[in-house]
Symmetry: C2
Subunit: 189 residues, 2 copies
DNA sequence: GACGCTTGCCTAAAGGCATTAGGCAACTCC
DNA sequence: GGAGTTGCCTAATGCCTTTAGGCAAGCGTC
């Protein structure tokens, strides 16, 4: 029997691709085994369980997303940074819907603390530097930005915006404008 | 063998309760059969499939949520209405996490069109009457409100706000304030 | 109250995914 | 080329879904 050369790394990457193709919840050990033309049991030498596999895909997605956001953010500030952050986020979700779904997986606290999720939190706060908010306003604003971006992207992905003729791209731009204005107002107060 | 008196109705209600207790994705025909102390196959006389069951739970949740939002909205306008809408939404999600998750289920277009989702859309637009926005601004605003509320509630549910000491209730109030201010500004323009 | 008829719930069976235990053969390194 | 490691396989168990066919509980009728 020829050896295919499975590794945890390759399984996780293939799992991420599979997620983008058929949806994160359709990522199963069986499907992955089929993709490598290998028996399911063979995977268990490389990942502890199906849950382990999904967690690893989530961590990969968080990492990739953080990298792309960091890239987009480099050298920008204020509204520019806000828009770059928002767009990087949305673009990733559209390009990699399965990975994006994976990134929402609930991680246990230790795993989360060691994940790129921490970088996300930092970068969101970094954007707000341009608006000069004190605490607790800054935390409120972080939560609001996270909510809007995540909410928009996930509603868009689930087809929630397809009932109206208005271009989602226009709404997105309008929302970013609005958030910028809102944050500037909050700075004043 | 005693007859338990299964009906589609009872199965859906029990499924919704089960969802709140153990999570929507743990709602399985098997678990439901156990709850009624009945064999799994017996359920198939009342629901077409596991998917059918989940869809019905989703429709129930949408209906309940729309009812509660409508209640909260009655007799209110402007910021009052905005806050009532937001709170009804969040309260429902907190009280019924499984049902709320069910309400996010992707429905096929016809089912969605016949669901209470339509009432949700209407009510969201109704709130905006207090802010006198034209099109396409109104659609943008509907999308933004939906995004913020859904995003906040779902991040809160997945534990995303537990890393900071700031009370989520305060952030929620801050966000509603901000949205009200934002919409008033948009009216001016 | 006995009779049949509907129909609710059951048994049986097949197929899919997850997981573990143990085996053999394919690489690796001397 | 031989010894040892290890990668992938077979086998088996358990849970979930779904369909087909059977029996009896409860209904209405006389």
């Amino acid at each position: 029997m020829a050896r295919v050369g499975l590794t945890t790394e390759r399984l996780v990457r293939a799992g991420a691709e599979l997620a983008d193709e058929v949806g994160f919840d359709q990522v199963t050990a069986s499907a992955l085994a089929r993709r490598f033309d290998v028996k399911v049991a063979s995977l268990y030498a490389h990942v502890k369980s199906s849950q382990d596999l999904k967690t690893r895909i989530a961590l990969l997605a968080l990492e990739e997303l953080a990298d792309q956001v960091a890239d987009a953010l480099a050298g920008r500030a204020g509204k520019d940074a806000l828009a770059a952050f928002a767009n990087a986020y949305r673009d990733y979700a559209r390009r990699h819907p399965g990975r994006y779904a994976a990134a929402q997986l609930r991680l246990d606290p230790e795993t989360a603390a060691a994940s790129a999720g921490v970088r996300h939190a930092h970068m969101t706060r970094a954007i707000l530097r341009g608006y000069d908010l004190g605490e607790p306003d800054q935390t409120h604003a972080v939560r609001m930005l996270g909510s809007v971006f995540h909410g928009y992207v996930s509603l868009e992905a689930s087809g929630g915006f397809s009932h109206t003729a208005v271009d989602p791209q226009d709404s997105w731009a309008w929302i970013i404008d609005s958030l910028d204005a809102l944050l500037q107002n909050r700075t004043a107060s």
